[in-house]
């Protein structure tokens, strides 16, 4: 049975794969240019119904400000 170990393949989480696919699509739409992607996001943000906040910058070593 141990010979089956040689046929092990990396496990792919389908949800992670779907999110990464969506991210790749967005990047491709921006021509893989981060400046263009950020500009596109800013334009979407300007017309979005979601409120926008500006958070204080986090300092290194301040764990209270870190994400969980």
């Amino acid at each position: 049975m141990n010979d089956a170990r040689s046929s092990e393949a990396p496990w792919v989480d389908p949800i992670v794969a779907e999110v990464r696919g969506a991210r790749a699509t967005l990047l491709a739409a921006a021509g893989f240019d981060l400046e263009r992607l950020a500009q596109h996001l800013r334009e979407e943000q300007a017309v979005s119904s979601h409120p926008t906040v500006t958070l204080p910058s986090r300092q290194p070593g301040h764990r209270s400000g870190e994400a969980a």
Binding site: A4, R5, E18, V19, E44, Q45, S48, T52, V53
Partner: protein
């Protein structure tokens, strides 16, 4: 493998199997390949050959669950028997109450990850109803990947029960990602994310790198 102890036991079946002339890479019939979902050209490994024979042994919930896990083992990334490393992965996401027996997580953590799981191990570690549930999930095929299913359930529970205790922000990029993919699933994600605040995406000159 265990020594045969009584007629019709799974141990006896394995003992007979081990001494039989069955080749380790049985070519397999079309029916076996269909049932095991092994494509033509891929060797039908000894482990799979044994898995399909599990139902021939005396049927119990435990044996059915473990046998089915063998069949679907490749959905965990490889074709191999169920091992303690699989249980260790699950245990991280499982509630102890009503699912695992008292002290089971500690027992699972101490075991050699590469040791195959036996019937007696399952009965020692899991509540009876859980073993039946594992079998149902695997047989139905709707949650072949139980780790993913457990993470999904955990995520749903977090959003339902704990979300209100946090101040949650989301970026425009993640909103776009959530809106992509399967339309029905995307609509559900977007509905959940509705109303969340997003940190403003500043121009390049204003980005803090510290």
């Amino acid at each position: 493998m265990c020594e045969p102890k009584r007629k019709g036991s799974i141990s006896r079946f394995f003992a007979e199997e081990a001494t039989s002339q069955a080749p380790p890479h049985h070519s397999g019939t079309t029916a076996m390949r269909t049932r095991l979902q092994v494509p033509a050209g891929v060797p039908l490994l000894e482990a799979n050959y044994r898995a399909i024979r599990f139902p021939l042994a005396k049927r119990t919930r435990t044996r059915r669950a473990r046998g089915t896990a063998h069949v679907h083992g490749r959905d965990y990334g490889c074709r191999r028997p169920w091992q303690f490393q699989d249980l260790q992965l699950w245990a991280e996401w499982l509630r102890a109450d009503g699912v695992l027996k008292h002290g089971a997580k500690a027992v699972i953590a101490k075991r050699d990850p590469l040791v195959p799981v036996r019937d007696a191990d399952l009965e020692e570690l899991f509540e009876h109803e859980t073993i039946a549930a594992i079998g149902r999930h695997l047989l139905r095929g709707t949650a072949r990947d139980l780790v993913t299913a457990a993470r999904q359930q955990l995520t749903h529970e977090w959003w339902r029960l704990r979300r209100s205790q946090f101040e949650v922000y989301i970026s425009q990029l993640v909103l776009d990602e959530a809106a992509a993919g399967d339309p029905e699933a995307a609509a559900g994600r977007v509905a959940i994310l509705e109303g969340l605040s997003g940190p403003g995406i500043r121009s390049a000159g204003a980005v803090h790198t510290g």
